[in-house]
């Protein structure tokens, strides 16, 4: 009993449980959902697709988790994704001959660096000028796509340089998509950094009470500035994966509304949007859950008009599952049942 309680009270239990329920649904209603086969020397199946696509969201949600941990929010991520893709594709160039104008490595670094600067801008507004995070990042949310359009001159740039597609797809000879490796590497790096240094604790303490943190000697502004830069870098990497996946920069649609998905995955992971204690593992599972949901709905063949409704139903269900008051309501049910049973027994006795 105690071990069961230990498991159910673990902070990752509910996010994993929600994901498990979704997978269970698929096991029964989607034929061949878990089937993985070997094709062209790589693994091929819906599960791989889910991992491949959720990697982008995972990377995004890592940045978002830290930002939310400090009690902030970054709604500019989607636009930064568009800028990252635009810069990288612009530098590599859309020449039909399949050659790169600028070496791909430099183009990628340039894109990520630019996104770090954009993150620094957000961080500057929030930490130095004390603008509310939602408003501060709203600036880039609106302006970002415009910037991306300026870079690509309003057109989609299609890249014919083959190695560029490796980031979002599979490097020949590998059996898994590169995105999975990138996301895993990011997770490991971040976890080690947070465990080995006290940054994680600082982020939490800023989120719980920034004034108190300030008086204990934590450089609150520096921490806040840093998490926004990190969020920008995450968005930059996600932007590279996203544009590489379709081998094109699409400033209008790349990363559209993705910041909302990132916020949702952080919330599904059990981190409170008010800041404080944050759960990286939860966010990762939240991101996978969201992608599983999308893939499931496509697999089941829900018609396009009804798609958003079903998505909403699943999200409501998962949120309810995690709500404390809702859980309290349910934990009372067994007692109520017992009570009603008792009264029934009494009635029976009376009749006799």
């Amino acid at each position: 009993m105690t071990t069961l309680k230990k498991i159910t009270s673990h902070h990752l239990f509910l996010p994993i449980f929600a994901l498990f329920l979704l997978l269970l649904f698929n096991a029964f209603f989607t034929p061949g959902f878990f089937m993985i086969k070997f094709q062209n020397g790589q693994l091929y199946g819906r599960v791989i697709d889910i991992l491949n696509r959720s990697s982008i969201l995972i990377v995004l949600s890592l940045g978002m988790t830290l930002v939310i941990g400090t009690g902030g929010i970054d709604i500019s991520q989607g636009s930064v994704i568009a800028i990252s893709g635009a810069i990288c594709c612009y530098l590599i160039g859309g020449s039909g001959s399949g050659e790169a104008n600028v070496p791909m490595f430099i183009a990628c670094i340039a894109a990520i660096a630019a996104c770090a600067i954009l993150g620094a801008w957000n961080g500057f507004l929030v930490s130095k000028l004390k603008i509310q995070p939602m408003v501060a990042t709203l600036i880039l949310l609106t302006a970002g796509r415009g910037i991306a359009m300026l870079i690509t001159k309003g057109q989609n740039i299609t890249v014919y340089y083959k190695p560029f597609t490796y980031i979002g797809n599979t490097i020949p000879g590998n059996i898994l998509p590169t995105t999975i490796f990138i996301a895993t590497a990011m997770i490991i790096l971040l976890v080690i950094t947070l465990k080995k240094t006290s940054i994680g604790m600082f982020v939490q303490s800023v989120g719980i009470n920034s004034t108190a943190s300030h008086y204990t000697g934590i450089k609150v502004n520096k921490i806040i500035f840093m998490v926004y830069v990190f969020s920008g870098i995450c968005a930059g990497i996600a932007g590279l994966m996203e544009s590489s996946m379709i081998a094109a920069a699409d400033p209008n649609n790349a990363g559209l509304n993705m910041e909302l998905d990132a916020i949702l995955s952080v919330a599904l992971g059990g981190t409170l949007l008010s800041g404080g204690k944050f759960y990286l593992g939860g966010s990762v599972i939240g991101a996978i859950t969201i992608q599983t949901m999308t893939t499931t709905l496509y697999a089941v063949g829900v018609s396009s008009e009804q798609l958003p409704v079903y998505k909403a139903i699943v999200v409501i269900f998962i949120c309810l599952l995690q709500s404390e008051s809702f859980k309290a309501l349910f934990s009372r049910i067994p007692e109520n049942l017992k009570k009603s049973k008792l009264t029934e027994d009494k009635k029976v006795v009376m009749k006799v």
């Binding site: 094709q39 039909g96 309003g154 379709i246 094109a248």
Partner: protein, 358 residues
């Protein structure tokens, strides 16, 4: 507290004053621009009357208010209208609204003030045009809508030149039907041709019409039971979603899909990548047809990865000029004019590519 109230009331009064002043200014501005016009308008209207009744040698002036330059398609559209005006000997007053309705309304008002012979514009949004269209009507200037429509009273404009989304969908299917017959293709599995459809954005009228046109065309052929729509899902007109949804289709039935119909080029280009990743040959194993026929689709067709692109043309400049001339000459024109659009199969893609403007 009292002070605050006082301040507020002063502020309110100021705001009201300003708005009044703004109104006045507007009025006076329109007056001043209109004031010299009565005399000149009397002149020009009589002259234009005489010209329309007499000979049509007077040069027609067309005021055109464009949406902006948000895409290659729009840029090509602008270029075509400018070219066609020059070729037809029509004086063009061109205005770029930069995606803002108020700019477009301003442009139309200035066209009215400068008494052009015909006004044409591509409405940015469907609503809010009644007043300015009424002004044009009162001034006796005919209005031609292009591309998108408005929700205003149809009596306020003369005609609407636009692409026929229903016909585009139907063209796509009819080409597939002909292609299958010509090549004697057989279904990859079973005895019906399974179709996968990538729809446009939900709620867009063009997306709905393209889908409807396609489905109606299936129902219209004599052997309609030979075709089966196996999958249909929105790809939101984007390459990324087109690829993701196609991946899902392929997981459910890679060995069944014979035909892919995408409501725009971008989704087809994304789907092609998914098909290749699934180990199939796009264009051979699966017949791929999309709408728009932009350069990207032509490149794919030249590589043999796509079979046909149905045109959604921005090149209706000539038609617009011709219609404007007819209206000025007093001829009757239908209330809706459909643009004729081409169909480009892969075998003529290479020779057509240099002619593509978008």
């Amino acid at each position: 507290m009292k002070l605050l109230k006082k301040l507020l009331s002063v502020l309110l009064v100021l705001v009201m004053l300003f708005s009044l002043a703004a109104c006045g200014e507007n009025g006076s501005a329109s007056n001043s621009s209109a004031s010299p016009s009565p005399s000149s308008s009397a002149n020009s209207s009589s002259s234009s009357n005489s010209s329309s009744t007499g000979s049509s040698d007077k040069k027609i002036t067309l005021g055109f208010a464009q949406v902006g330059s948000e895409s290659e398609w729009r840029t090509a559209n602008t270029e075509d209208i400018k070219r066609a005006a020059e070729a037809a000997g029509i004086t063009l007053q061109f205005s770029d609204a930069q995606q803002k309705q108020e700019n477009q309304i301003k442009a139309i008002r200035s066209f009215i003030a400068s008494e052009v012979d015909v006004i044409s514009f591509c409405p940015i949004v469907a609503t809010g045009w009644d007043t300015v269209l009424q002004e044009a009507k009162d001034a006796g200037i005919p209005v031609i809508l292009v591309d998108r429509g408005v929700s205003a009273d149809p009596s306020l404009y003369v005609t609407h030149i636009c692409a026929d989304a229903l016909a585009e969908g139907a063209n796509a299917f009819n080409w597939i039907h002909g292609y299958i017959k010509e090549k004697g293709k057989t279904p990859r599995s079973g005895d019906v041709f399974n179709i996968a459809i990538l729809e446009g954005t939900v709620g867009s009228s063009v997306a709905a019409d393209r889908l409807k046109g396609f489905k109606d065309a299936i129902a219209a052929v004599e052997d309609a039971d030979k075709y089966n729509i196996l999958f249909s899902q929105t790809g939101e007109y984007t390459r990324a979603k087109g690829k993701e949804v196609m991946e899902s289709f392929l997981k459910s039935g890679a060995d069944k899909i014979d035909i892919l119909f995408a409501a725009n080029d971008d989704m087809a280009l994304g789907a092609i990548q998914a098909i290749e990743a699934a180990g199939l040959k796009p264009g051979e194993d699966i017949i791929i047809v999309s709408i728009d026929a932009a350069k990207g689709a032509f490149n794919a067709m030249i590589e043999g990865k796509m079979n046909c692109a149905v045109e959604h043309t921005p090149n209706f400049g000539d038609l617009l000029m011709e219609t404007a001339k007819k209206i000025v000459a007093g001829e009757e024109v239908p209330s809706k004019i459909m643009v004729e659009e081409g169909i480009f199969p892969a075998d003529i893609a290479a020779q057509e590519l240099p002619n593509r403007t978008y």
